[in-house]
Every structure is written in structure tokens, then in C-alpha cells.
């Protein structure tokens, strides 16, 4: 190719082109501006959209609360952005906190992560104690989300008192009692009785059904009843010696050994599919699990599920969540107000009534909606009675920064025993290796 040139002007044009090129590059380099949140600016009429990012089931949609909030505040629209699996949600959330972009105005926090965020990321959150009175919640709930100097990064949504969800129709076919008090009576001795009931079920189990979804659920139920689970009060990781962990692990390996479980990782797509098919007879059920079951089992099994109180005498709390407001959001004030409203007694009661998520707000316990709450999907189980009694007795658990990861890792290894026949000792070794990697 021959380039013919004109004399005049080329030098200058080159310079212009080059500068343009350079400045474009410079623009690219500085192009990562820091946007606090994804929500848009208020439009001319002062209308704003608040985004709520959460995971699993928070029950707000079921209770119609976002629509109601819009009625009360016509200029505010609330959009919910749900991630099914909290284990997928949290790493992404951490990244967003680090970069300060992509955050919603309100973000959910699971109890297994709250300690880590309180310890390391408290500055990234607005102090909710300025908006909401922390004494509203059951005492241990508020403490979990408080820093040493009294800053509160999360408002308690629900707590997870334990129970057993079971399928009445399958129990009947297997020749087991179907009445919830009789089922509870059979479990009065604790989780060992739960396994015994499983063996009874197995003798006459309907084809292609399993007694429980995964032994990891039972394991979590067992561990949740201790006040010291994975960490000691002085912040040491004690999961290897912890009595609850050992008891839970032993029971889980027994359940696997006796082939009482379907061996599906909870919340995974196959687990959801199994609920749709209706192949498991029981699920260890912290209060929030009911919403999951109702969602995935669908209308086919409406009224066939029921809820019995937790095995044995120990109260346990598995899970529960918080709502936080990232400090860098564009609408921190409005988001704080929304969180205050969502976690107020009336709204928590409405969520409980609609989805069975048990309130952490003490003010809700005396409301008729909670006291007399029945879940229609679960054969009108009186969940108000079932959980309220237990909630009073829940021990204040010591939390640790990596609670969530430790729990998930052990659950994964229990799934390995179920799905691949990994020997309990090997699975435990794999779990401890992985956990030490996490803590290290």
C-alpha cells in the first residue's frame, strides 16, 4: 500500500489524533468510578426505587409487604433481588462491599456470616441503632449484629426455632402416626428417636421415598441446640472438640449407614426437584424452612405436609437473618426507614403468618397473628404455639467469623457420605482439612 501525503496540516492532525488516542486511554484508565448503589436517582417527582438483595425466602413477597410499603409511601418502589442459595449470595456480597459497587440499598445477612461482617466490615454499614431500638429484639439476636462499641449493622428479621416437617400421607402409608402430637411424642427422646422413627418408616416406606432429605439437616439441628458450637467464648475455633458437632456427626453417619436419607444437598436444584416430586417424608425444619418447602413442593402437596415440635427437650436455633443498610448507598435514610418498617412487630407477624418465618422482634410475640398463627399449607399446623414456647428457651449461641463456612463444609462432607459412600473417618478428615484451610 502506498501512502501519499499532503504536506500541510498532517503533523497537526497527527498530534490531534494522538492526543485523542491518549486522552481516550486516560479516560479508560480512570473510568472506574465509584458508584455506591445500583438504584437510580430520584426522578423529577421525587420517586425513588429501593433495592433489597436477599437469599432463600425472606417472606416479604408472600406477605405482600413491598406492595404495601408502596401504598404507604407512593413515591417509593421496592424491588427485591433474590439469590436462591446463600452460599452463592455471600461471596458476591463481600466483593460488592469491597468494591463499593453493585450493592443494593438493603442487603440480607445470614447469621453464619454476621460475626465476620461485624468484626471486619462494620464501617461499610450504616448504624441502625440510630434508627431502630435494638432492645426490640430477643436479646441474643441484637448482640449478634452489634459491634463492641454498640454499633448495630443489621436489624433482626427472623430466628430459626427447630421443628420437624413431615408428610402425613407418606407417614400413613408407612403405618406411622400422622397426628402432630403423636409424632412429637415419638420424638420425645431427642434426635436418636428421630432415627428410630426413620427405621420404622423404612420398613414400610412407599416406593421411591426416603425418610429425610439429607443427614446434614439433622446434623445442623443437633449442633444448633448448643450455646458453643464452632467457636468458644474467647474466639477460638473449637469445632473438633465441640460436643454438639461430635454428636451431630455421629448421628449423621448413623443415618447414612442405615440409608435413611435421600442424600441431596439442601437448597440445590436436585433437592428442589425432589420436593416437587415429593420423595422425602421428613425435613428437619427451622421455622424458615417451611417457606422453602411450600415454595418448592407446590400445590400438589398442599395440606399433606405437617409440622411437629422439635425432637427432645432442647431448644435450638438454626439460622435466621438480618437486614443491613450499606453505608455507601444513595438512599441510606430511606433504606433505614424501610428496614425499620420491615422488622417492626406487625410486619414480622405478617411474614410469620404468610411464610412461617418466626419473628425475632419480641413485640411480635404477643400479637394475635403470631399467637394463633397457623400455616394453611402445612395442614394448618399451629406454628405460633409450636415455635413460641421454644423461642423463649433458645440459648444465646457464641458466634464465630467463619461459622457459615464451617457449617457448609461439614454439610458437604455429610453429603459425600450419602452420595458417594465416603467413609465417616475419611469424610471427617476431609472436612477438618478444608476447615483448617478456611480458618488459616
Amino acid at each position: 500500500m502506498r501512502i501519499t501525503r499532503t504536506v500541510a496540516g498532517r503533523g497537526r492532525r497527527t498530534a490531534v489524533m494522538a492526543t485523542t488516542g491518549l486522552s481516550a486511554a486516560a479516560l479508560l484508565l480512570t473510568g472506574c468510578s465509584d458508584s455506591g448503589s445500583d438504584s437510580d436517582e430520584a426522578d423529577a417527582n421525587g420517586n425513588i426505587t429501593l433495592t433489597v438483595a436477599d437469599f432463600g425466602q425472606f417472606g416479604y413477597k408472600e406477605a405482600g409487604l413491598f406492595a404495601k410499603y408502596h401504598e404507604l409511601h407512593p413515591n417509593i418502589t421496592v424491588k427485591e433481588n433474590v439469590t436462591a442459595d446463600e452460599q452463592v449470595y455471600y461471596p458476591k456480597f463481600l466483593q460488592q462491599l469491597n468494591t463499593g459497587s453493585g450493592l443494593a440499598d438493603v442487603q440480607g445477612i445470614e447469621v453464619g456470616r454476621v460475626k465476620e461482617l461485624v468484626d471486619t466490615k462494620a464501617d461499610a454499614f450504616a448504624d441502625l441503632s440510630k434508627v431502630i431500638d435494638p432492645d426490640q429484639w430477643v436479646n441474643w439476636k441484637a448482640l449478634q449484629a452489634s459491634t463492641d462499641d454498640g454499633k448495630v449493622i443489621g436489624a433482626g428479621t427472623d430466628i430459626g426455632p427447630m421443628s420437624i416437617c413431615y408428610r402425613r400421607d407418606l407417614f400413613e402409608q408407612a403405618g406411622l402416626p400422622t397426628d402432630r402430637t403423636e409424632v412429637a411424642a415419638k420424638l420425645a427422646g431427642g434426635w436418636e428417636d428421630y432415627l428410630a422413627l426413620g427405621e420404622e418408616y423404612k420398613k414400610k416406606a412407599p416406593k421411591d421415598t426416603f425418610f429425610m432429605d439429607s443427614a446434614s439437616a439433622m446434623y445442623n439441628g443437633v449442633v444448633s441446640s448448643d450455646s458453643e458450637q464452632y467457636y468458644s467464648k474467647d474466639g477460638k475455633a473449637i469445632y473438633k472438640e465441640s460436643a454438639g458437632v461430635q454428636a451431630g456427626w455421629k448421628l449423621a453417619s448413623e443415618a447414612v449407614d442405615k440409608k435413611l436419607t435421600q442424600g441431596l444437598a439442601q437448597f440445590s436444584p436436585p433437592w428442589q426437584a425432589a420436593l416437587r416430586k415429593g420423595s422425602m417424608a421428613t425435613v428437619a425444619c427451622p421455622a424458615w424452612m417451611a417457606a422453602q418447602i411450600a415454595t418448592y413442593s407446590g400445590d400438589d402437596f398442599k395440606g399433606k405436609w405437617d409440622i411437629a415440635r422439635t425432637p427432645g427437650e432442647t431448644a435450638a436455633n438454626w439460622g435466621g437473618s438480618f437486614l443491613s443498610v450499606p453505608a455507601k448507598g444513595k438512599h441510606v435514610k430511606e433504606a433505614g426507614e424501610l428496614v425499620k418498617w420491615l422488622t417492626a412487630p406487625e410486619q414480622q407477624a405478617a411474614v410469620f403468618k404468610a411464610a412461617g418465618l418466626f419473628p425475632s422482634n419480641k413485640g411480635a410475640y404477643d400479637l394475635p397473628d403470631v399467637k394463633t398463627a397457623k400455616l394453611e399449607y402445612f395442614n394448618n399446623a399451629p406454628i405460633g404455639e409450636i415455635y413460641a414456647e421454644e423461642a423463649q428457651a433458645i440459648p444465646a449461641a457464641v458466634l464465630g467469623p467463619k461459622d457459615g463456612v464451617i457449617k457448609d463444609t461439614i454439610s458437604t462432607q455429610i453429603n459425600n457420605m450419602e452420595q458417594r459412600g465416603t467413609k465417616p473417618d475419611d469424610a471427617w478428615k476431609a472436612a477438618t482439612e478444608a476447615i483448617d484451610k478456611v480458618i488459616g
Binding site: 500500500m1 502506498r2 501512502i3 501519499t4 501525503r5 504536506v7 500541510a8 498532517r10 503533523g11 497527527t14 498530534a15 489524533m17 494522538a18 488516542g21 491518549l22 481516550a24 486511554a25 486516560a26 479508560l28 484508565l29 442459595d85 452460599q87 452463592v88 461471596p91 463481600l94 466483593q95 469491597n98 465476620e116 461482617l117 468484626d119 471486619t120 466490615k121 444437598a265 440445590s268 436444584p269 436436585p270 426437584a273 467469623p401 463456612v405 457448609d408 458437604t412 453429603n415 459425600n416 452420595q419 458417594r420 465416603t422 476431609a430 484451610k437 478456611v438 488459616g440
Partner: protein, 332 residues
Amino acid sequence: MATTTPTRGVQGPRPGRRAPKPMTPGRQAWRSRLWRFDDKASPYAYIAPFFLVFGAFGLYPLIYTGWIALHRVEMTSLDQMEWVGWGNFSTILQDSEFWTAVTNTFVIGVISTVPQLMIALGLAHLLNYKLRASTFWRTVILTPYATSVASAALVFALVFRADGGLLNWVLGFFGAGETNWANGHWSSNIAIAVIVIWRWTGYNTLIYLAAMQAVPSDLYEAASLDGASRWQQFRNVTIPALRPTILFTIVISTIGSMQLFGEPLLLEGGQVGARGGTEHQYETLSIYLYNYGWNLGHLGPAAAVAWAMLVLLLLIAAINWLVGRFMRKTAA
């Protein structure tokens, strides 16, 4: 940078060119100086944007990753860096999971690259003949490459699913039992290799085809006059002519398989995928890195893995180069 100036259409001002306006001698000298400067400097200005962007988005992250690899940095507190020297490297080298990931990466790399390039070579050879609607076939062969990793992986996840997966259903007709593809070490690696082969074969086919089109046709004519069959033509004319191209695709595919991430991540998806399977049976190096950095939140070892991957790639590139030189020698 090369120091030789590339030959260009025009070397400086041509004789007989006149400036439109008569100028004073001083001004003229300045003009020509400016001109010379323009001639020498403007190429740099033209390529500068690339190097600036590369420096900012390529080189700087590379070096900073190396810096992070020598520190303890947590996802939860990025601003606190604690010097640990080579500690992160010894951590990962002593981690059995790292070696599992290395093995998996190589196994998947080999069982995806080798068949993929062979199939691509065969297809390119077929497409090289005169056939009807050749443009159509060439387009069709590239369509898998145009799909995103995510959609391809999700579709194949349905194919390889344990319960109710398409493949198990088909195999069921032949009396095979249910295989849990994602659970076995070999079966999961094969499943991932299949996704890779499906996506990249067409891409390599087109590269080969382009190279084949450049082979002078009189070579083929001469060969056929000598009575060479098509297969012999392929072996003795096409393959030697394609040698540099084959080497290029091998290098590209190696780099690609070293960075394998989306396919294993999405084979089962969710948290299991992010760990490379419940027993790390299909965990590749990229997944290992991701898991260390984003799930466990330890960025130091994750950065060390990134550098380990670079070293591995350089090793492979060196081997490739030696093999290439050896091949060139024997060819000569």
C-alpha cells in the same frame, strides 16, 4: 521493541514535491524538522493507547498479583496486608487439592485438545473441497463458538444430569445403567471435555481452513499427477504446510484449557460447582483459585495460584517452542 523501521510507502518527502506556499528558509528548516519528528514519533503515538491500556489492565495487575501472593490478604479486609514471603506458595504446594487441580486441568486439557484439533483438521479438510453451499457449512461450524460459555455449559449440564439427563436416557436404550456423570472423576472430566470440544472445534476448523486455502494448488495438482490419493495428499502436502498453524492452535488451546473455568463451574452449578465437585473431582486450577479467593476469602494463596499457573504456562510454551524447533529442523 524492534529497532528496524518498517518499510513504508514513502520515505520522507519525495523529490519534486513542492510546498504550496513559498517559505522563508528558516521556516522551511523548522518545517522539515517538524516533519522528521512527526515521521519518527507519530507511530509511537498511534500504538501508545494499546500499551497504556495493556499496562493498566494487563501488566500492572500481573505484577500486583505477584505482590499480593507474597502477603496475607483477606477478602474481608483488603487494606491489611501482612508480609509472608513465599509462605503462600508453600501453602498451595503442600495442599493436596492443588495437585488434584493440576492433574484435572491437564487431564481435561489433553482429552479436550487432542480430539478437538484432530476433528478440526478433518473437518477443515472436508470443507476445503468444492462443495455446495460451502459458506453455509462454514458458518454453521462456527456457531458453537458464538454461544456463550454459560449457555453451552447449562445445556450440557442438562445432557449429563444424573436423573433424567438426556445422555442417560439415550444410554438407557442400550441397557446402560444410570451414570452420575458429575460424580466420577473420569466421567466428569470427559463431560467437561465434551463441552470444550463442542465449543472450540469450529473455531479451530476455520483457522485450519484459512491456512489450507493458502496452500498453493499446484502442489496438489503435482501430487495428483504423481498418482497420490486424497489421503496421501492430505498427509504429504496439507499437514506439512499446516505445521506452523497446528503449532499455533496447540499453543492457543493449551492456554485456553489452562484457564478452564466456566464449564466446570456450571456443570453442576451453585456451591458444588464453585468447589469443583463435592470431592474436587473436576476442580481445575482456575476453580481452585476462585474457591481460595472468593469462597474462603484468602487472596494471598489465590494470587500464588495465579502465578503458579503463569509458570506452568511458560513451561508448556517452552516445551512447545523446543518441539517446534525440532520439527523445523527435521523438516529442513
